[in-house]
């Protein structure tokens, strides 16, 4: 085979050549590339982390936005566990009789007439319970 006989090759590199002085300046170019790549190492890390940081920032932003814009809790008066009821029951429980009387007087709360009656003897136990149950 003619072509596989090396005597037929134009040069040692089978016809390939390089620009003039290519090998003389090779070391300098490699050194520049090493300097460039080590300088850019931290920048490359930042480029890699950038989308993840942006994603994390977006989640924080959405979380904060939700905190500011979410609808306020509505107190349901009819609910047995509502904070309203808890507040009033605690108020009555923690007050002494004297304080309760003062409160009634200050607020001008009208008590039912039956409460002021002296005929306690005529009342049944259920009626007494009903009248004293605030």
């Amino acid at each position: 085979m003619k072509a596989l006989n090396k005597e037929n090759l134009t040069n040692q590199q089978a016809g390939f050549s390089t620009p003039a002085n290519y090998f003389e300046s090779f070391e300098g170019r490699v050194q520049s590339q090493i300097e460039f790549s080590s300088k850019n190492k931290s920048q490359r890390l930042l480029v890699y982390l950038k989308p993840w940081l942006a994603l994390a920032g977006m989640f924080v932003f959405v979380g904060l936005l939700y905190q500011f814009l979410r609808p306020q809790e509505v107190v349901l008066l009819g609910a047995s566990e509502s904070s309203f009821e808890v507040y009033y029951s605690e108020f009555y429980i923690n007050q002494s009789d004297e304080e309760l009387m003062n409160y009634v007087a200050e607020e001008g709360i009208e008590l039912e007439s039956s409460l002021t009656t002296n005929n306690y003897e005529d009342l049944t136990i259920d009626e007494i319970d009903e009248l004293t149950n605030f």
Binding site: A3, T10, A14, G15, F16, P19, F26, V30
Partner: protein, 181 residues
């Protein structure tokens, strides 16, 4: 020019790393370049591969323990860099919309850094039709006249497999060139 042993002796002193690296470049730059050039064909691509090879040599020079010779170590890096470069280029053009499959003869004739004859164009065209690893084996044996044992250490393949691969590659090239006559 310094020998591998001189460079290895220098490598034992950490403060001499830069000097040692320059000696390595001086000793191996041409062989690495030509090794890559016959695989990737264009000068620009071969320059990229050769530079990347030495950037890696610099990066991993501290880890070199001398388990293999410097020659084997550098050639292994260069071969891996070359195959990685070819694979990435194939991936890049796999989804290209334009038809990039220009006739290989035209690519070589248009290359300002190719001065070969028509016979050499035919030879390179036949070589380019081989699978990458077989091409690497053929080039190392035919152009670089490397011993099979050395090739075995570089490519981490048995001598028998390399001989078979080279034999098959030579046969394919001869057949291809005969067919194109």
């Amino acid at each position: 020019m310094s020998t591998d042993q001189d460079i290895l002796d220098l490598l034992k002193q950490p403060e001499s790393k830069e000097r040692c690296f320059n000696m390595l470049m001086l000793r191996y730059k041409e062989r690495v370049y030509w090794h890559a050039r016959k695989m990737v064909v264009s000068h620009e691509d071969a320059d990229d591969v050769a530079q990347n090879t030495f950037v890696k040599v610099w990066r991993y020079l501290d880890d070199f323990r001398g388990d293999s010779s410097l020659f084997t170590w550098i050639y292994r890096i260069a071969s891996n860099e070359t195959l990685t470069f070819i694979a990435s280029r194939q991936r890049k053009y796999a989804f290209a919309l334009n038809d990039l499959s220009y006739p290989f003869e035209d690519v070589l004739k248009a290359d300002p850094y190719f001065e070969g004859s028509d016979l050499e164009i035919k030879l390179h065209k036949s070589i380019m039709k081989l699978p990458e690893k077989q091409r690497l084996v053929f080039n190392m044996r035919y152009f670089e006249e490397m011993k099979f044992k050395q090739m075995s250490e570089i490519l981490d393949t048995s001598v028998g497999a390399l001989k078979a691969s080279y034999h098959l590659a030579s046969k394919k090239i001869k057949d291809e060139m005969k067919a194109s006559d």
